[in-house]
């Protein structure tokens, strides 16, 4: 049976992980590659790096991070942030990323989705959707890191990105993001039920129950968490054990490379 995935997410600025991450085990807790290696070891199923560097003109730092990650981490990982062309995508994929994610650039030029899907395959193309449930109950897509409303309906947009070739949707609720008070179940379910590709719920993870709810009530295929693992208070395998106890199929083995090889 296909398991549900827990995806760890790092925001990276100029090659350094932002948000206070305090792991005593790490020599350099700001190094995304060290963190990725640790998360892999701790049993994470997949990783996402979001490059939030203001200027995307110099990609060398990100490329270096992607290469070093591919050298050490043998689970899938996605890279996004400021990718605006299929050449940008190719650079990341050739450096070792398994998938790329696009958000604002896809809204501004939806053909970018089909261009990427045609050239690299849908399985590489994750479209990130930032959406807010408005006071009238509508679900609106936002761009530019959640700052700019677009007037586009989230469910309609989700259907369109899949038609254009997206292989997966990473759905972040602007209402719940950053509050650690649970995912937006209504939004997640509306999008997940509307499309035939996997949907990753994002925004609001504070504990294992939130993840259980996103999967059982929100019909999410995967849950993304940025900060809850960062302080070691919610060990990944503890969260997985709770999810499995709730009846969710989870990958429980996280064998050590050195033990197995």
């Amino acid at each position: 049976m296909l398991t549900k995935r827990i995806i760890g997410c790092f925001d990276v600025d100029n090659g350094r992980v932002v948000k206070g991450i305090s792991f005593v085990e790490l020599r350099d807790a700001g190094d995304p590659v060290e963190l990725a290696t640790l998360y892999d070891h701790e049993g994470i199923d997949e990783l996402v790096f979001l490059d939030i560097t203001a200027s995307h003109e110099d990609r060398n730092t990100v490329v270096d991070m992607v290469r070093r990650t591919a050298d050490r981490v043998f689970i899938p990982f996605t890279v996004g942030g400021g990718l605006r062309s299929d050449e940008d995508m190719m650079l990341m994929l050739e450096s070792g990323a398994d998938k790329i994610t696009i958000n604002t650039a896809a809204v501004e030029r939806p053909a970018l989705i089909s261009e990427g899907a045609y050239r690299f395959g849908s399985q590489c193309i994750v479209v990130a959707i930032d959406a807010r449930t408005e006071s009238d109950g509508s679900m609106q897509v936002y761009t530019h890191g959640g700052r700019r409303p677009t007037g586009i309906d989230a469910v309609e947009w989700a259907r369109e990105v899949v038609e254009r070739g997206a292989g997966e949707i990473m759905l972040t609720s602007m209402n719940t993001d950053g509050h650690q008070d649970g995912y937006d179940i209504h939004l997640t379910r509306a999008v997940s039920d509307a499309v035939g590709v996997p949907v990753i719920a994002s925004g609001g993870a504070g504990n294992a129950q939130h993840m259980i709810d996103a999967i059982t009530d929100g019909n999410a295929d995967a849950v993304l968490a940025a900060s809850i693992f960062h302080f070691g208070t919610h060990p990944i395998m503890d969260v997985k054990r709770q999810m499995r106890a709730a009846g969710i199929p989870m990958r429980m083995e996280h064998a050590d490379y050195d033990d197995v090889l």
């Binding site: 049976m1 296909l2 398991t3 549900k4 995935r5 892999d40 199923d45 997949e46 290469r67 591919a70 050298d71 043998f74 689970i75 899938p76 190719m90 994929l93 050739e94 450096s95 070792g96 990323a97 398994d98 690299f120 395959g121 849908s122 399985q123 590489c124 292989g167 997966e168 035939g196 590709v197 996997p198 295929d221 995967a222 199929p249 990958r251 083995e253 996280h254 064998a255 050590d256 490379y257 033990d259 197995v260 090889l261």
Partner: protein, 212 residues
Amino acid sequence: MSDPLLADLDVIILDYGAGNLRSVVRAVERVGARPEVASVPAALDAADVVILPGVGAAADTMRNLRERALVEPIREYIGADRPFLGVCMGLQALMTVSEEGGEHACLDVLQGRVVRLPAGRKIPHMGWNRVELRRPTPLFDGIPDGSHFYFVHSYYCDLAEPDEVVAVADYGTDVTAAVERGRLAATQFHPEKSGAYGLRIYRNFLREHACA
């Protein structure tokens, strides 16, 4: 982390323009071998082991292999029962025909069709699925039965000869997860993306043929 058993093995990873070979190269290096990436037919002559990785669509894969004149050399290499490992599209390309985006003739090394996954579930089949062995094989040595491996695909291999299927994963049907015939092995999942047990698949395959 060189493995004395594997260090001298001539491991060829076939590059036919499908991109992202880096993770396969690194995985093979991580288990102690020194792979070489090659895209010319002559590379198969002296190879001890050939690995055919791949993502993307069947039609593109076959066109790329034809453009590089690799179709017949691969068929001959496998026909001579020399060690060959296919991964994901590198498995599907071995089949008789693929229904992905029309009907596309493939390498016809393994008899059967590549067909769309059954409706009713999210497609692509993406993520870690439980892999169950149908028979014991050295390919899964040291890997507990029922371990999870990472899959990303929308079509799967329906083999004419069920005995060639050594492992399956459940996704609305028994999805062919691993195939073996003589010294030919292939997986639908990505061992290079399946953590420690995934790397163990590479090591098992390489060791088996290093000792042979």
